[in-house]
């Protein structure tokens, strides 16, 4: 099957830092994705589930069980290219988990279990600042200071921006295939997450501002008099 109609029917997603709103809603996106066959849609859903880890019920499972579950689900994906993208995301997730575990001192290297090619290296070099992965992953060095300062939101945004570019590169190299569609939907998910996290920040700022304003004596007086007028 060719995907020419579907690929050109998908809108342009601007880069994460420039994106202020989603160019297409989930409902409209799903309507366009209905052009896919059932088998393709299953592949897409599987890829989305793994990439975005939206299944809350899995979060309560121990790490080893989670990793086994990921491995089993990855086997069901037919495209090696998409499998590689998801593996990369899960490996980064493992790395960040290791950094967090070590920072909190919750577990030692012997109890750490993760996903992918860096897990053994992480265990062996647990006490090195970047698990001995400095040269292999220079981007990790940029993320560590953010984690040490506790800027986990910014850290996630940087990682998402990096993963977004990685997906865009793949999307452009495999035009008009199911992989193109899957990469687009995964990028859409990253954009949605990015915008949601921005919305949360905006809500927090708004709540802070309103609580400050409501505690101002003049405004409190004004509100009280308005209530008195109403009653």
């Amino acid at each position: 099957m060719t995907y020419y109609t579907l690929v050109t029917a998908l809108p342009h997603l601007p880069p994460l830092p420039q994106c202020k709103e989603l160019p297409i809603s989930r409902i409209a996106l799903d309507r366009r994705l209905s052009m896919l066959s059932d088998a393709d849609r299953q592949q897409l859903q599987q890829a989305e589930r793994l990439y975005h880890q939206g299944d809350v019920s899995l979060q309560s499972l121990p790490d080893q069980t989670l990793v086994r579950d990921w491995q089993q689900q990855l086997q069901q994906l037919e495209s090696p290219l998409i499998r590689e993208r998801i593996q990369l995301k899960l490996e980064w997730q493992t790395l960040l988990a290791a950094l967090r575990y070590r920072q909190q001192g919750r577990i030692g290297p012997e109890h750490f279990s993760g996903f992918g090619r860096w897990t053994g290296q992480i265990r062996r070099h647990w006490h090195e600042p970047l698990f001995g992965l400095d040269t292999a992953l220079p981007f990790l060095a940029e993320l560590q200071p953010l984690l040490l300062k506790g800027h986990s939101g910014e850290l996630e945004q940087q990682l998402n921006a990096w993963l977004w570019k990685d997906l865009l590169f793949i999307e452009r190299s495999v035009q008009f295939t199911l992989d193109t569609v899957i990469c687009f939907v995964l990028r859409w998910g990253l954009t949605e997450k990015h915008l949601k996290s921005d919305a949360v920040q905006a809500l927090e700022a708004f709540q802070h501002l309103t609580s400050q304003l409501l505690n101002t004596p003049a405004i409190t007086q004004h509100i009280e008099s308005a209530f008195e007028d109403l009653s």
């Binding site: 690929v7 050109t8 029917a9 366009r32």
Partner: protein
């Protein structure tokens, strides 16, 4: 053996037309599918998307002209020559139409995002067309050497 050579001669006569038409069908279909998707996503410029999707149809026309240029009374002396020119020209036209269709689909996909690069995005499709023209012109030139 003579019958086989004569059959190949007939295939060479009709080949440019048939293979060119097959290529145009596939190429126009690929570009047309892309144009249909772009109609959903854009508010204006629909006409030009449909126009681009018809670009790979020129190979069919080249095929018809080559077929008429090769058309002559078929005999054992000219059948092999006609087969070679006709089939090779037909294959060249077919592949150029298919790949031109793909180039057109890519042009539609990018110009949907940035309409100002519409003209530039058509350059790859125009280059592919150039190769189809080479195959067409030189088939005409070389057909003059085939005995009548």
């Amino acid at each position: 053996m003579d019958n086989l050579i004569l059959a190949l001669g007939w295939a060479g006569l009709y080949g440019p037309m048939a293979l060119g038409a097959i290529g145009s069908m596939i190429g126009c279909s690929l570009a047309g599918q892309a144009a249909a998707g772009a109609l959903l996503e854009t508010e204006t410029g629909h006409g030009r998307y449909i126009g681009i999707s018809a670009m790979p149809s020129s190979q069919s026309i080249y095929g018809i002209v080559v077929m008429f240029a090769l058309n002559r009374e078929l005999n054992i002396d000219n059948a092999a020559g006609l087969a070679a020119i006709g089939l090779l020209c037909g294959l060249a036209l077919m592949f150029s139409a298919i790949y031109q269709g793909r180039s057109c689909a890519s042009a539609i996909n990018v110009s949907k995002i940035r309409p100002e690069i519409f003209g530039m995005s058509l350059a790859p499709a125009a280059i592919v067309e150039g190769f189809a023209v080479f195959a067409f012109i030189f088939a005409l030139v070389i057909s003059a050497g085939v005995p009548a």
